[in-house]
């Protein structure tokens, strides 16, 4: 079994291959994709398959190395120690030694292994799914190219060993999400999507860009103090600094931490920078599955995972509060959404809230958050893909009110979606339960140990959000799969657009009632082709067993640590760093153990109760239709509308930030054109004005006298001209006369 042993020489090169294969695929696809058979989709999917295999292999190695039941065996490899690194900024000799040189290498540890495998798997299945879903798209080959470059960016980010490299891939991912969300903006066949995609992509890029800038500032602050971006060095130096200050975190470090968290808020769509995610649904569904479930949004959480030691306790409190609030906030809106993908979008934001809040609680919360990130990747991507398959079936109809009764027509999709819904709702036996339960346990331990306001808020908000999650997920299940098919049925599967778009022209802003992408009538939905259903089912199994492979030891209620917890623990994540920011110094390890144990049982109970409550509520309203949701919505009246309108956050942002920028821009443009340019032209104009004044002054006041410098010279000119009579004799006279006068003057003087 030594084949599972991790030896740095070969394995680092193998790891390097992981992002490189799709990159090569991308380059080939961009230039020759159009000419390849089947437009090169097999090339990229195959490439992604190879990457997945390597990633899973490396995960196996990591699991093997992390030792038996309770983990603890350190698995932490940094390529620069193994001598494999690449000088980026300065190459030649002398400069390389200066502090300015940037060694770029790979950091591969438990978290990295898990994420690499998750991303690899999800990307491969999204590629496979897209083969079916995107068939017949005008820019089919470009779509695949963009998706694979996106996975390169994510894989690169996971392997990054320094903040700068992480930032580079971070921004490339932003670019790819811009291009992928904007996929339909070039496709005139769906005018609604075209209009929506154009500004949605820009909105996504700019909002995440705000986050990126915060991250950049945070990075600069740390660079200014420690002159390094390497994670390992950063952890060590922060640790020594805090130790030197006797446990007191310096103020600048908190500010820098907040800025870094700003990056996460931007990328992982936490409140208030979450506005771009619902609009990112303008992209094709595989894109949503990939970007808005598994990878890109998870990058923010991954960043927190990597920079956890350098975040001060107050930053963690802010993190927890934001996460919890976002979870609750998004869950409420999810309840009211009617667009299938919108529900999933808001549930993603809410789940991300969960993860961020978990990491905020520190200690086991960190592990729970990261674990939930991995499991969420599986079941959320499966949810998105199955939603894609449903939409594909219903001829691009996204409005749940026009669906229903699909369980008989699309059994496989129903099965996959069902399993993932159970997982996300946190039902035991499914992956969601294990990670979400841990999060709630972490929240409870935090409150019991450190009774701070944020902790209390988190431990209340998270269970409520979990309940709402269960509620809206099952509401979706019942609306799409329960009841009878409410869609318009028409013969022929024409994708014709004629006259289709006129009768309900949706104003652009994606509002809760009108702005859902219009489908078109077609025959009864039928099961999606094999590439889609195969990937759905595989992801569903992962959703099912991904959390804890309980089949092996039938430990349903996770008394033994799930695989992820064995792989990743605060000690293995940050070797040689004592995590003071978890609980500060007043709390000892024994107290933590005890609190965790107590919280474990309580959390188990609460999460089961909450899940059950949510499912029952959904069944009560939508399944058995005991009460009509419409009447309840009407009863709630204005509250319902505000929640449905996403608390008008979009309008708020558009009104303030965008209008302010445009105002500032036009103000400065006016300023530039009139004031600065004005000054320059003013100088010209004042001269002209002076000329007029002088002319007026001369004309009226100096009547007849010399008028202005020009006039004077002209006068002299005319005087002299008198002498130019043209008669020679006069010239001689003047000459002689002049001579005489001069002689006389000489003599007399």
């Amino acid at each position: 079994m030594d084949f599972l042993h991790f030896n740095p020489e070969t394995d680092f090169k193998l790891l390097l291959a992981v992002p490189l294969i799709p990159l090569i695929g991308y380059v080939v696809q961009v230039f020759f994709g159009r000419f390849l058979p089947r437009k090169g989709d097999w090339l990229l999917t195959g490439g992604m398959g190879v990457t997945m295999v390597i990633a899973v292999l490396m995960l196996a190695k990591a699991l093997h190395a992390s030792g038996g039941e309770h983990g603890g065996g350190g698995f932490f490899h940094v390529s620069s120690e193994a001598g494999i690194s690449w000088a980026w900024l300065y190459q030649s000799g002398k400069a390389a030694v200066s502090p300015l040189n940037l060694e770029v290498g790979i950091l591969y540890d438990g978290l990295g292994a898990a994420m690499l495998a998750a991303v690899g798997v999800v990307s491969f299945f999204v590629h496979l799914f897209s083969v079916g879903y995107m068939k017949g798209d005008r820019r089919y080959h470009l779509f695949f190219a963009n998706i694979s470059l996106f996975s390169v960016a994510m894989l690169g980010l996971v392997l990054a060993d320094s903040l700068l490299v992480l930032f580079v891939f971070w921004e490339i991912m932003g670019l790819m999400s811009y291009l992928l969300i904007g996929h339909f903006s070039h496709d005139p066949s769906t005018p609604f999507f075209q209009r929506w995609a154009t500004w949605a992509s820009k909105k996504a890029f700019l909002t995440t860009r705000v986050g990126d800038c915060c991250l950049l500032i945070g990075m600069m602050m740390f660079w200014q103090h420690y002159h390094t971006f390497e994670f390992v060095d950063l952890w060590r130096l922060t640790n020594e600094d805090v130790a030197r200050h006797g446990g007191e975190w310096p103020a600048w470090m908190t500010v820098a931490g907040l800025f870094i968290f700003g990056g996460t808020v931007g990328k992982s769509a936490q409140f208030p920078l979450h506005i771009w995610l619902p609009d990112a649904m303008a992209g094709p569904t595989p894109v949503s599955a990939m970007i808005h479930a598994a990878t890109m949004v998870a990058a923010g959480v991954f960043l927190l995972g990597r920079t956890f030691p350098i975040l001060s306790p107050d930053v963690l409190a802010v993190v927890m509060a934001t996460g919890a609030f976002t979870a609750l906030f998004a869950a409420t809106i999810g309840v009211t959404a009617f667009d299938l993908k919108a529900v999933l979008a808001w549930s993603t934001i809410s789940q991300l809230g969960f993860m961020v809040a978990a990491i905020g609680t520190g200690g086991i919360g960190l592990v729970a958050g990261l674990f939930h990130m991995v499991t969420h990747a599986f079941f959320k991507s499966c949810l998105f893909l199955s939603a894609g398959s449903v939409i594909h079936g219903c001829h691009h109809e996204q409005d749940m009110r026009k669906m229903g009764g699909l369980r008989t027509r699309m059994p496989l999709t129903f099965a996959a979606m069902g399993i993932s819904t159970l997982a996300i709702a946190g039902i035991p036996l499914f992956s969601g339960f294990y990670s979400k339960d841990k999060i709630i346990q972490a929240a409870f331990t935090k409150t019991s140990l450190e009774f701070s306001g944020a902790a209390v808020f988190a431990s209340i908000a998270l269970p409520v959000a979990a309940a709402l999650t269960a509620f809206y997920m099952f509401r979706m299940m019942f609306m799409t799969f329960g009841g009878t098919y409410r869609g318009e049925v028409a013969e022929g599967h024409g994708h014709g657009q004629e006259g289709h778009d006129d009768h309900h022209d949706h104003e652009l802003v994606h509002s809760e009632d009108g702005g859902i992408a219009p489908g078109h009538p077609g025959p009864l939905p039928v099961e999606s082709p094999w590439p889609m259903t195969v990937s759905l089912l595989c992801l569903a199994t992962l959703g099912f067993l991904g959390g804890k492979f309980w089949l092996a030891d039938l430990d349903v209620l996770a008394h033994h640590a799930p695989w992820f917890v064995r792989l990743v623990s605060p000690e293995t994540l940050y070797p040689g760093v004592d995590l003071m920011n978890g609980y500060g110094h007043t709390v000892t390890h024994e107290m933590i153990e005890h609190a965790e144990h107590v919280a474990h049982n309580m959390a188990m109970l609460v999460s089961l109760l909450v899940a059950g409550l949510g499912i029952f509520g959904a069944w009560w309203l939508f399944g058995a239709r005991k009460a009509s949701p419409e009447r309840i919505a009407a009863a709630l009246g204005e509250i319902y509308h505000t929640v449905a309108r996403k608390y008008y956050v979009d309008e708020l942002v558009n009104g303030t930030v965008l209008r302010l920028t445009h105002l500032l821009a036009s103000l400065q443009r006016w300023f530039d054109e009139n004031v600065i340019d004005g000054i320059v032209l003013g100088v010209g104009r004042t001269n002209r004005a002076l000329g007029f004044l002088q002319a007026w002054f001369d004309r009226t006041i100096v009547d007849g006298l010399v008028n202005g410098a020009g006039a004077i010279t002209q006068l002299f000119g005319s005087l002299v001209r008198l002498f130019q009579t043209g008669r020679i004799q006069q010239y001689v006279t003047f000459a002689v006369g002049g001579g005489l006068i001069a002689a006389a003057w000489l003599i007399l003087a």
Partner: protein, 207 residues
């Protein structure tokens, strides 16, 4: 009335000449007389030249001036120069002017003498005054009596002067060149233009 002025002018002229002669006789004896005569001849000729209304008479008055100047040269011992003066000025230049007179139209409108007179008077007065001033300031190297009568120098000396290496050979050659150029130019300028003969062809199409 016009004849009165004419006659008055000449009377004045004659008086002036006599006064000059008397003064010359009294101050320098025969030499002085000669000098006064020649001076009177020169200045009188010039005055008549200006005064005379008709160009021809002026031209001939100029002849007297050139003669007077030649006389003065003789008094100063520059015999070759006097001969050259008469030869070139009287023979050459005056003839040229006479040709000019012949070729140019009679001048119908003669300016009134008064303007001329006025000009003469003003110019002469001012000039005399300045001349006196200048004369006063210049201390002449005048010996009480003029140096011994100059021996008449031979033309040979001047010839040697022209050709001697260190003296004026360059100037002599240059003068030759200038002369030829000037004469050729004069001929060229004064040639009959071809256009004088043909009627200039009317350009078709009018203006």
């Amino acid at each position: 009335m016009a004849m009165g002025i004419e006659r008055g002018f000449y009377a004045l002229l004659g008086l002036a000449a006599l006064a000059g002669a008397g003064w010359g006789l009294s101050s320098g004896g025969v030499g002085g007389l000669l000098f006064a005569g020649f001076a009177a001849l020169t200045l009188g000729g010039a005055l008549v030249c200006i005064w005379e209304r008709s160009v021809v008479r002026s031209a001939f008055a100029l002849l007297a001036t050139f003669g007077g100047v030649a006389g003065l040269f003789l008094l100063l011992g520059a015999d070759f120069l006097a001969m050259a003066q008469i030869l070139i000025y009287v023979g050459g230049i005056l003839a040229l002017i006479l040709f000019g007179v012949m070729l140019s139209p009679p001048d119908p409108t003669e300016r009134k003498l008064s303007r001329v007179g006025l000009g003469l008077a003003a110019g002469g007065g001012a000039f005399a005054w300045v001349g006196a001033k200048v004369a006063a300031t210049v201390h002449w190297s005048q010996a009480a009596t003029p140096p011994p009568a100059p021996k008449l120098s031979h033309a040979r000396e001047i010839g040697v002067g022209f050709l001697a290496a260190d003296q004026y050979v360059v100037a002599f050659e240059l003068a030759a060149v200038v002369l030829t150029v000037a004469l050729v130019a004069a001929v060229y300028i004064a040639r009959r233009k071809v256009a004088d003969f043909e009627e200039p062809a009317e350009p078709e199409g009018g203006i």
